[in-house]
Symmetry: C2
Subunit: 548 residues, 2 copies
């Protein structure tokens, strides 16, 4: 039995325009007021356009062809589905003159006259123009009036005949066809004024700039407003694309790994005690015991390897209580985790990363063309450059490249975000790829359970993977020898008694193994060249946001 | 960067025997002592059998052919993998006389004489007998001795030649072949005494009973001990089967839904406020804000529908802080959640359940034969009886069947577990199926957001689905009209202001929709006829267990 969880959070229906970093709050407020004014103007215009209409169904012999569907009819009255539905995306020239029944949203309603109204109907981000024309014995003027009075984003059932206009319709995705409406019912009414308009939310920066240069101020919806009204924001073509791409990333990840003999596991997110990290975990009370939320499935996936599953993966939430306010950190994200036995060398793990991601990028480019286009229309980006065999650089080589470019850094320290970006640039110039593996990281900057290199204890059998200069994957061979693991923990100043269960897991015979973790939201963000991880999380959680 | 999370919990290395419900704690303790004694006897026997051996490699010209692999060699020394590995499961008659290299665990070591030792090597639950025979110029006596001294569950690399014995080997899964060992290296040593032995953990109740009748007391490992040493317990053939089947359930679930146009989503587990349920949620502090863990993705999956995704699903953890100590409740489990637009009738949702699960059962029976057999050897069960088209009974019909069988219950109350079992029995007798849908539940026993029936407000457009008399799925059409939803919440005594975000989600145009939630662990438990949900959760969490 599923039970309901209410959400809270700032949800006052108001739209804001994006204030650039340098713009003051005052200017932003002014823009809000301006936009409100604009909306009120639009509404008055709509009211004026439809003022000549007053519904009087009694005089209309075609009254049964339109109207609001009563709730009772939507409570599963009609069990046998005799009606054939067509998806908006399936409306093509070949259907000319055929009767169709569609359901979607009234995206824009344009009353032209007493005799004609246009409605653009949208389903799953795809749109078609529907024409309602008063015609004797078919469509009444009252129906035209009813259609003109619909509120945007309402759900409608439309019955009509497919026609092919002389000129393609520029403003819809189904450009070769229109629907000549015979019947139109409103299934669910949206509020007449929405906190954000879909066309505003769907606008690209370039459009706003072009309009500005032509002297027109278009509404720009900022990231926070989008997230406050995510239900509306999700409806933009770009967001429909982003989350369908995300779904495909998971699908390809799993299909590839299953085909390689991996087993999918589900490890607990509720963990006893509080992690050694302390600050970075969410703590809670578990039936009187101190507990915390898992920062990664690291331990349990390693236990699954010690439990003879050989190769395992998991897709699940990962919780980080860090106070990071960057474009690339979230307090809750989706981790794609992999762990596998190693026969000889940690390169086996890197091989898996290599083949997995080349397969994934190929499949996304092939199977998500429309979605990538939709994202690119709002947020233009260049397709990711990657090689058939993924470039592997040793950490030392990376340091040398940076040195040669005049970047002086400690060769045994971790790379910061800025340096990672720089290295990404150098790699792109030299090797022509935006996707590469950097391995043999300094031991000191990796977690205690990372296996040191056989030939130099200053380095480790570990790697990070980068897309467009940003880290998306971290991986390594793990220490599988319990006494050595305890020694390594001590070297990191960890109280070994607090991790005895972890260490004991390796006392019953443990194969050499390694693995990696991927941030799903980062993969999608960087594959699509987006600038903020909040764009690729359906309901992001950061230090300031816990809603909706 | 993944970080380490330590676990805590009772982890004292001791084995216990299962005490039947009626047996006193005293008897259980006695059994523990008995078993300890047995183990000590076994160890003494092993020590005696190997006492004649003392490794002295200097005198052995074949010393390079065996031994403990030093840690340094396991730190990814050898990058290029020239060695070809064969999986134990791939060892078949056709490989006769061929050289193979395998890695697995020394499951049982049986020293026969100074000249011969047997080792059964296990990989992913599959086993092969390896024979080490002292032979001039090939295998030394010292090597035989080394092999005899191995501790069980140690990881070994074995090189040898496949031979075909005259009689099939009864005790291994690869019955038609043996490996005549040439080289054997121990990659990782297990403790000489393990808290539980795999053969004890793998034993069926029937074996224990048979032995008991023959006067022999075999060790029975109880559920709690298994879970304390899950890393060992996981290695039994039944558990290898259970979790590989679980992996397949997820795979089939997703593949089916993706093929039906569903989008996979990931909703947040960190939720603002504390749910109206109160007692049943885990509460925590989120950066100074009160928060709780999601009891289901209900709200967010509905928001995704309002956000135009049309059809969505999610696989993710679900948290219930209930004090349930039953065989079928966990505090954290894996929810398989589905939500979809409805065109006409909630039967569209039931159609999806029907086709999804018939597809799933077919695929499991077809693709997981070996895994199901492995489970059945330890926990015998009858294959699930299900129809090509899933039986749908109205709640009223179910009540009538119960009435006819002499079970008198309130026709507007929910069914308790016992009554559900009884109904399952009656349905099996009458319709020959152990999988069916019961729908049109009384409105009062469903959550407030459940759509009432169009023709009778005492009933609702909802359903439960049962396997072998136990509920695994709960689903319904939802109320998509915001004002009516508020009215329904009030009728349930819920403060509407606490769920305003939820209700507001439907004010921007909401299509009729419905969905369902499935408990992954329950599906696997009931498909395999297991008696405890802890058997199908890799690391179960219940009110008393938060480790490992």
């Amino acid at each position: 039995m599923s039970s309901e969880i209410p959400l809270s959070g700032a949800q006052h229906p108001q739209a804001e325009e994006e204030s650039s970093k340098s713009t003051s709050k005052k200017a932003a407020k002014k823009e809000v007021a301006k936009q409100e004014k604009l909306r009120r103007q639009q509404e008055r215009a709509l009211a004026a356009a439809t003022s000549f209409l007053s519904v009087d169904d009694d005089n209309d012999p075609f009254a049964a062809n339109y109207g609001y569907v009563p709730l009772n009819d939507l409570q599963s009255k009609e069990e046998v589905n005799l009606r054939k539905w067509t998806e908006v995306g399936a409306l093509v020239e070949q259907l000319k003159d055929q009767q169709v029944l569609i359901r979607g949203r009234a995206q824009t309603i344009r009353p032209v006259s007493k005799n004609m109204s246009f409605v653009v109907v949208r389903e799953k981000g795809l749109t078609v123009q529907c024409v309602v024309t008063a015609q004797p014995d078919v469509v009444s003027r009252q129906m035209v009036k009813f259609v003109a009075s619909l509120s945007r984003e309402s759900i409608v059932n439309v019955e009509g005949v497919v026609s092919v206009p002389n000129d393609p319709i520029r403003s819809t995705t189904q450009q070769q066809v229109e629907v000549q409406v015979r019947k139109l019912y409103c299934v669910n009414k949206a509020l007449p004024t929405l906190p954000i308009n879909i066309e505003d939310a769907a606008r690209s920066e370039a459009e706003i700039e072009r309009a500005l240069q032509a002297g027109e101020q278009l509404v720009r919806v900022n990231q926070d407003t989008r997230l406050n009204y995510r239900v509306l924001d999700m409806r933009t073509p770009a967001n429909q694309g982003i989350f369908r791409i995300q779904s495909q990333v998971c699908n390809i990840f799993r299909q590839f790994l299953l085909s390689e003999g991996f087993v999918e596991i589900h490890t607990p997110k509720l963990i006893a005690g509080s992690s050694e990290g302390g600050a970075a975990v969410f703590k809670l009370d578990y039936k009187g015991q101190p507990a915390c939320l898992a920062q990664s499935p690291q331990l349990h996936k390693q236990m699954a390897i010690c439990g003879d599953f050989g190769r395992v993966f998991e897709i699940g939430p990962v919780f980080r209580a860090e106070d990071s306010y960057t474009h690339r950190h979230l307090c809750e994200f989706t981790g794609l985790d992999v762990e596998m036995e190693i026969k000889n060398h940690y390169s086996e793990v890197m091989d898996m990363v290599d083949r997995l991601f080349v397969t994934m990028f190929d499949a996304l480019n092939e199977n998500c063309k429309k979605e990538l286009e939709a994202v690119g229309r709002q947020y233009p980006f260049e397709p990711l450059k990657y090689l058939r065999q993924t470039l592997r650089l040793r950490f030392e080589e990376g340091i040398q490249m940076l040195k040669d470019a005049g970047v002086e850094i400690d060769p045994y320290d971790d790379l910061n975000t800025e340096v990672e970006r720089k290295l990404g640039q150098l790699v792109l110039e030299k090797y022509g790829t935006e996707f590469y593996i950097l391995h043999r990281y300094p031991l000191a900057v990796r977690p205690f359970y990372t296996m040191p290199c056989y030939d130099d204890v200053k380095y480790s059998n570990s790697f990070d993977v980068f897309i467009r200069g940003e880290e998306i994957i971290s991986g390594a061979q793990r220490v599988h020898v319990p006494d050595f693991l305890a020694e390594r923990a001590q070297a990191f100043g960890i109280d070994v008694s607090t991790i005895s269960t972890y260490i004991d897991s390796f006392r019953y015979g443990a194969p050499p193994h390694g693995g990696f973790g991927v941030g799903l939201e980062r993969v999608v963000m960087l594959f699509c060249g987006l600038n903020n991880i909040r764009k690729t999380s359906l309901f992001p959680r950061d230090p300031l946001r816990l809603a909706p």
